[in-house]
């Protein structure tokens, strides 16, 4: 199965570079490009990609607003991976809050970037788990006032959510709890369902905002 990608960045040089880098991977194919957030919405509607690689700062609707609009249209497809020049905490957290599944630095090694895309598409782990967890932990509590409590979770589900929020992948959780990987997958799915979260990242945000996890 080939992953279909859309590149969104206002700089043609960034786009053309990414197109060549990602296009040389056998399981990735770039199906569309956009230079603004608004354009991204059109292109995504036309091409139905698996993952949208989204720049944050763009003229005519930035990446955060475009991410929110994509998620509002369909919570499951496409997933959004935010690409950023610098680790600007505030922008990154806001994009995760808007519904992005993860973020990667534009300067990261091509292999890491490709990995991040695959992880976002599969949803079996957080992208940059440590960084993401720290970012959410440091930003979420301050905005948590009045946040709804988590729905009722079984003991196992709570264990799983705790480990997901700790940045562990399905395989790592399976090893930790001595469970089959398939069982972990089932638990993760039911946690996401109960939380109304589209992916792990959103579940981690919910876990911190509800006070289930504390910084």
């Amino acid at each position: 199965m080939t992953l279909r990608l859309v590149l969104v960045d206002d700089d043609v040089l960034v786009r053309s570079g990414l197109r060549v880098i990602l296009g040389s991977e056998p399981d990735l194919t770039v199906v569309g490009e956009a230079g603004t957030g608004r354009e991204a919405l059109e292109v995504a509607a036309d091409t139905d990609p698996d993952v949208v690689l989204m720049d944050v700062r763009m003229p005519d609707m930035d990446g955060i607003a475009a991410t929110a609009a994509l998620v509002a249209r369909d919570p499951q497809r496409p997933r959004v991976l935010v690409l950023t020049t610098f680790e600007d905490d505030d922008y990154l957290f806001r994009s995760l809050q808007a519904g992005a599944s993860g973020f990667a630095l534009k300067r990261s090694d091509p292999d890491e970037l490709v990995d991040a895309i695959r992880i976002v598409a599969r949803g079996s782990s957080l992208v940059l788990p440590d960084l993401t967890r720290r970012l959410i932990a440091s930003h979420a509590p301050s905005r948590a006032r009045g946040a709804a409590a988590l729905p009722e979770l079984t003991g196992r589900e709570a264990d799983v959510l705790r480990l997901v929020a700790g940045g562990l992948s399905n395989a790592e959780i399976a090893a930790e709890l001595v469970l089959a990987r398939e069982t972990v997958k089932t638990h993760v799915s039911s946690v996401l369902l109960k939380l109304g979260a589209r992916d792990r990242t959103q579940a981690v945000i919910a876990a911190y905002e509800s006070g289930f996890m504390t910084a």
Binding site: D10, D11, V12, V14, G17, I21, S24, P59, D60
Partner: protein
């Protein structure tokens, strides 16, 4: 009653302990010295007061004006010495006030000397010094009198020696406590009367907040220009390497892409270096304590330099200025400069190096700035619909200045950025 007595006794003991601790603190010789120096300095302050009063009286006879100024200047100089004394002996850090000498011209200095709140606060400090000196004198005087009275005509023997010594110790301790109080008052008052006034503190605060804003702007500029240029160059370089070393047989080597990528990297890097140069100039100037000139807003006169740099970078760009632009307000000049800067940067970014024209036209109360380029010279580029990332910011600034911004493709396949700014109402 019975419950309060031991407590107040304990309080007295605690107070005594505190005094002893303060007296035994490493600074105590300085504090004692400061208290004792209060005697001659208090006397000197009194003398200066009399001099001021005398010279003011002399003004009535028309001869004392120069004398008043002389005394005021002396008082200011004296306050400077006092600041140094408080710093050395008491360890209070008092920032220097306004410098009269930094004023230009004798008249300006005289005016500042009389009008400066610092001068009159120094006069106030003299008053405090007189009072503190008097207090010190009183403490010493009555302390001595008390000691003398207690011991005069006493026949020392085994029975009365102990209580008498205790009484004397108490008197000395009491005097020390009072002197400590005097020094405490001086420590509290000195920064207020000898330090910079509220208006100077506000000015200093404004200066530092402006510096902070400048630094933030610098950081943002760095982020936007150098960070961005390096990222784009990195991605182009990575991509170029991949096109020259195909991963699979069905992906042929693409030397044309690599050649273009190298050209982009060249242009981007050159622009980034120019920006780095600018930023470093600013930082260096700041380090040397100079008010950095590059922080001064760029004007229309700087446009030629800007474009010369771009020409070196390979962009064929011409500048056309029409109408009188000398009296255009600085804020508008800066904005116009930014329009040209942003417009030409976008040309480089989105269209490569096509023929480009920057126009500045002054017509009555309106300044129009236009950046247009011919059809894009790059194969893989098209004019961005909204332009570059800086365009949104430019649009905000233009709107704030009451102007309009239009950007879009031209019929001939190029791109046009047009900003019209009103001159009336601008600062």
């Amino acid at each position: 009653m019975s419950s309060t007595f031991p407590r107040s006794g304990a309080e007295i003991a605690a107070g005594l302990r505190r005094v002893l601790r303060t007296a035994a603190s490493p600074g105590w010789p300085g504090r004692l010295l400061y208290a004792l120096a209060g005697l001659p300095i208090g006397a000197l302050s009194l003398a200066l007061y009399f001099a001021l009063f005398g010279s003011v009286v002399a003004v009535i006879y028309g001869i004392g004006l120069l004398l008043v100024l002389l005394v005021l200047a002396t008082i200011r100089g004296f306050a400077g010495l006092e600041r140094e004394l408080a710093r050395t002996l008491l360890g209070v850090d008092i920032a220097a006030g306004e410098r009269i000498r930094s004023q230009r011209g004798l008249l300006g200095r005289v005016r500042r000397l009389v009008a400066s709140a610092g001068t009159w606060r120094a006069v106030g400090w003299l008053g405090a010094r007189v009072l503190l000196g008097a207090a010190t004198l009183a403490v010493l005087f009555f302390g001595t009198v008390l000691c003398a009275g207690l011991t005069a005509g006493i026949d020392w023997n085994v029975l009365n020696a102990l209580p008498l010594l205790a009484l004397l110790t108490l008197v000395v301790l009491g005097a020390l406590v009072l002197l400590d109080l005097v020094v405490r008052v001086a420590t509290a008052v000195a920064p207020r009367l000898l330090g910079p006034g509220a208006e100077q503190q506000i000015a200093a605060l404004q200066h530092s907040s402006r510096r902070l804003a400048d630094r933030n702007r610098l950081a943002r500029d760095l982020h936007d220009t150098i960070g961005h240029a390096l990222t784009a160059s990195l991605l182009q370089a990575t991509a170029a390497r991949r096109t020259l070393t195909p991963a699979a047989a069905d992906r042929p080597v693409q030397p044309e892409f690599a050649r273009q990528a190298l050209q982009h990297i060249e242009t981007n890097t050159r622009a980034a270096l120019a920006e780095l140069d600018r930023v470093l100039t600013v930082l260096r100037a700041e380090e040397d304590g100079r008010d950095p000139a590059p922080f001064a807003a760029p004007t229309l006169a700087d446009l030629e330099d800007l474009l010369a740099g771009l020409r070196d970078g390979g962009l064929p760009v011409a500048l056309v200025v029409d109408g009188a632009t000398d009296d255009v307000p600085p804020a508008v000049q800066e904005l116009a400069y930014r329009v040209v800067q942003e417009g030409t940067t976008n040309v480089l970014r989105h269209a490569g190096t096509p023929l480009t024209v920057a126009q500045v036209l002054r017509d009555g109360d309106v300044l129009a700035v236009r950046v247009t380029n011919e059809r894009a010279s790059q194969l893989d580029s098209r004019p961005g619909p909204g332009g570059g990332r800086g365009l949104a910011g430019l649009r905000e600034r233009t709107a704030a200045a009451g102007g309009t911004l239009d950007a879009g493709p031209t019929p001939s396949g190029g791109f046009e950025l047009l900003v019209v700014l009103p001159l009336a109402g601008a600062r």
